[in-house]
């Protein structure tokens, strides 16, 4: 089974994001970048699928040269090959998913795994948009997955319930944290990753549908007020919660 995984390099989740001078994008200076945490689950699920069904796992990212490092991490985890597509310009969910759809048609996998969202802009668009463009079935926010013969059965955690769904292959699966426990790249995997192919090309981006107008940091938190100490302070606190914060 040919398996494709979509991954992205993102700032670590504990980063302090600062807007860049243009006021529309973030300033990458001083940030630490990591493989999008949900994508680790996508890679893991792809590797498990390969173990069960054989085939090859290709990881693909649209990004700059520095994303080679993240692709190598995926190769060290056990993926077979990697593709790095240079976007050459800014993109949004629409233009990116069009570029991905074009590449998916060329690579012709039977299943595509991606993270349910990338933690940089949290759009959560790529999986469903890609499935839409390809007219494939799509499981979003997958919490478990079983692949059969030409079909799949998956589970999603929805508000207050679990939903079990099934669909036909080919499919796009967007992966959530409960799906699996991503493996650590082991030393042999890291040694082997050096020798695996990493192909570079450019992304055929479509026209974007969105324009970012402004990126601003969240408003600074107001200074905390201490209303008092011990049991005596309870009334004053209740009053503030009810009448000022209006949370009760």
């Amino acid at each position: 089974m040919e398996i494709l995984v979509l991954v992205k390099r993102v700032p670590a989740t504990d980063s302090q994001i600062k807007p860049a001078a243009d006021g529309k994008s973030y300033d990458p200076a001083g940030l630490e970048f990591v493989l999008n945490p949900y994508d680790e689950h996508a890679v893991e699920e792809a590797l498990k699928t390969k173990a069960a069904k054989e085939g090859t796992v290709t990881v693909l990212t649209v990004g700059g040269k520095e994303a080679q490092k993240d692709l190598r991490t995926c190769l060290a985890m056990g993926a077979d090959k990697a593709v790095l597509l240079d976007p050459g310009q800014e993109f949004d969910g629409k233009s990116l998913s069009e570029a991905l759809a074009a590449k998916v048609k060329e690579l012709a996998p039977e299943i595509v795994f991606c993270g349910k969202q990338s933690v940089d802009n949290d759009d959560a668009q790529i999986g469903p948009r890609l499935a839409g463009l390809l007219a494939w079935s799509c499981l979003t926010d997958a919490a478990s997955l079983e692949i059969g013969d030409g079909t799949w059965t998956g589970q999603r955690d929805i508000e207050g319930a679990k939903e079990v769904v099934e669909g036909k292959l080919p499919a796009v699966i967007s992966c959530s944290k409960g799906l699996n426990e991503p493996r650590y790249p082991n030393l042999k995997g890291i040694m082997a990753a050096k020798k695996k192919p990493l192909e570079e090309g450019s992304a055929e981006l479509g026209a974007p549908a969105l324009t970012v107008i402004a990126l601003t940091p969240p408003p600074a938190r107001p200074e905390p007020t201490i209303v008092g100490e011990g049991p005596d302070a309870v009334d004053a606190l209740m009053d503030k919660l009810k009448n000022e914060a209006k949370v009760l």
Binding site: A12, D14, E32, K69, R72, T73, A76, Y184, P185, N186, L187, K188, I190, M191, A193, K194
Partner: protein
Amino acid sequence: MSRYTGVDFYNLDALFTEEELMVRDSIRQWVSDRFLPLVNEHYRAGTFPMELVPEMGELGIFGPTLPDYGGAGMNNLCYGLILQELERGDSGLRSFVSVQGSLCIYPIHAYGSEEQKEKYLPGMIAGKLIGCFGLTEPDFGSNPGGMITKAVDDGDSYILNGAKMWITNGGLCDLAVVWAKLDGRIRGFIVENGTDGFSTRDQHGKFSLRASVTSELILEDCRIPKSHILPQVEGLKGPLGCLTQARYGIAWGAIGAAQAVYHECLDYSLSRVQFSKPIAGYQLVQNKLVWMLNEITKAQFLCWRLGNMKDDGSMDFSQVSMAKRNNVWMALECARLGRDMLGANGVTDEYSVMRHMCNLESVITYEGTHDIHTLILGHKITGIPAYD
């Protein structure tokens, strides 16, 4: 606490390959996710988290420099970075891996017969067979050449008698590499746990390295097949060759412990307010932090250079002595300073600094005490041995 990112004041990362950094980061993540949540429980109980050993085998950290028998064939910089990250977790974790790799897998690989290598190495590298290294005796620590454990030739077997003490992993082992005198010459023997006449007794009451099992090995008319002698080495150079390997790893490991301490102290001092401001804003506190950063950075350069020399074959054991001596000392000093910086909190196990401080008291003693390394270096530069 903020996420652990290591210490790299001089952009040393630029001197490592992407692959070396990936090894470091992978082990760092594993230590954060898998080991640190367990450490206090084991430290209090005086046990080692054996439940992690299969994962450690899977990661490939036992004997990672070997190109055969299941080893990953990594260079020595990678090996050093692995041990640095393990000791960032706890010296007991690093000790486990040093003993398994440098003190057991190494001598079997370097001095063993083909049959011994095939029998033991794949299982040891996979973490399915645990080894220990029996050199120290109750009356012979810094002077192992004086050992009294004896092997006697008896037809198709050897009979071992004696006692070894302070043996890391002794009570956990499947096999012991035991050094004993055969006709007055030091030789290495592989003793499988379960052999008649071989027993272990765990040593209790340690204030240090509590997440590591330390035991006595007792050999009473212990009969082992002749094929269990390590054929390729005789004399003190056998165990000393192993110690050079292990000391190399300890020099790196100590940097990890120091970095853990520095990270915790910097974080703490930035958030702990006394008098009018965070204590990080006082000159005395900054002096301590700067001392740590300064010493860690120097230690990193020693190890980086040492690793390159080990890889190109030019490393001398006395250079390893310098790195072990300096780095463990500096880590222990960092931990002592750091313990103080955390005030009363620093004496609890909610923070790691006192655990590291206590551990490093063992690390500065084993694998050649600080002073013995001074004598090794003194011997090297003057040509005059001052041990006796």
